[in-house]
């Protein structure tokens, strides 16, 4: 993969995150705006760039990995709900990353091997 493709994915991913997070910020009530917290912003940008650079066949394995890790995202948000009441938003949401790594990493190892 060329350095230019990596850079294009990163830049486009950053702009996509801004677009979805602004939508989330404008949305109400808060539970509705929270839907945008799990929007496929980076995924959309990254898959589009992969399709352009490598064709659809090159993007499918990325989408497969994403499908596996979306279970991690679901568990992450549930763990966040438990932790942010006890530890506040910053520490709770960062500590909850361990749940994402456990679920996404575990499922990846089980499915891929």
């Amino acid at each position: 993969m060329s350095i230019w493709l990596i850079a294009a994915k990163a830049l486009l991913g950053g702009f996509a995150v801004i677009a979805f997070s602004l939508l989330g910020q404008a949305g109400h009530p808060k539970r509705f705006s929270g839907l945008f917290a799990a929007a496929p912003s980076v995924a959309l940008a990254s898959l589009a760039m992969t399709v352009i650079a490598k064709g659809a066949g090159g993007a499918v394995p990325y989408a497969q990995g994403m499908l596996i890790a979306s279970a991690g995202m679901l568990v992450y948000c549930l763990v966040c709900l438990v932790l942010i009441q006890r530890l506040h938003a910053l520490s709770g949401s960062i500590l909850a990353w361990s749940a994402w790594f456990a679920v996404a990493g575990g499922l990846y190892l089980v499915v891929d091997h």
Partner: protein, 149 residues
């Protein structure tokens, strides 16, 4: 977690406040941009080194959520941050619908597949939100997971 504040927030009509789109501080936008660039970079580099499926895992990594939740907590309190994460649970199910649609349709027509995948995310997460809002499901989730006052 303030149950009354959560209930009042839930009672608001669903929609978008266009004026809030332009109220974000440049520093808040910059933080989200940096996290977005960072996770896209991680996904691309891991994809190049360990293979695309491993890189794809990070397309569903909650990189920006800690920044978002922290900003909400700072401005509006822990209850609102909790509510945002509660919506994120449903958005994550929509995220799975996005990925599944992409896996199934990318080889058929990549552009249509990505647009339909985005549509799948919006329909699944939006439908679940309205289902939870119209029924007692949000209340059940709150009772199960919150330490409400």
């Amino acid at each position: 977690m303030d149950g009354r504040q959560l209930f009042q927030d839930d009672e608001q009509p669903v929609g978008f406040d266009g004026s809030k789109l332009f109220k974000a501080k440049p520093s808040e936008i910059a933080i989200r941009f940096v996290f977005g660039v960072g996770i896209a970079l991680v996904a691309a580099v891991i994809g190049a080194v360990f293979g695309p499926k491993a890189g794809g895992l990070f397309l569903a990594f909650p990189a920006v959520l800690p920044a978002t939740l922290t900003l909400i907590e700072k401005k509006e309190g822990t209850t609102k941050a909790w509510a945002d994460a509660s919506g994120g649970v449903l958005g994550a199910i929509g995220l799975a619908a996005f990925a599944l649609t992409a896996v199934l349709l990318l080889r058929w027509n990549p552009l249509a597949a990505l647009l339909l995948a985005l549509g799948a995310w919006a329909v699944v997460s939006g439908s679940l939100y309205f289902l939870f809002r119209k029924t007692e499901l949000f209340l059940m989730q709150d009772k199960l997971l919150s330490r409400s006052r």
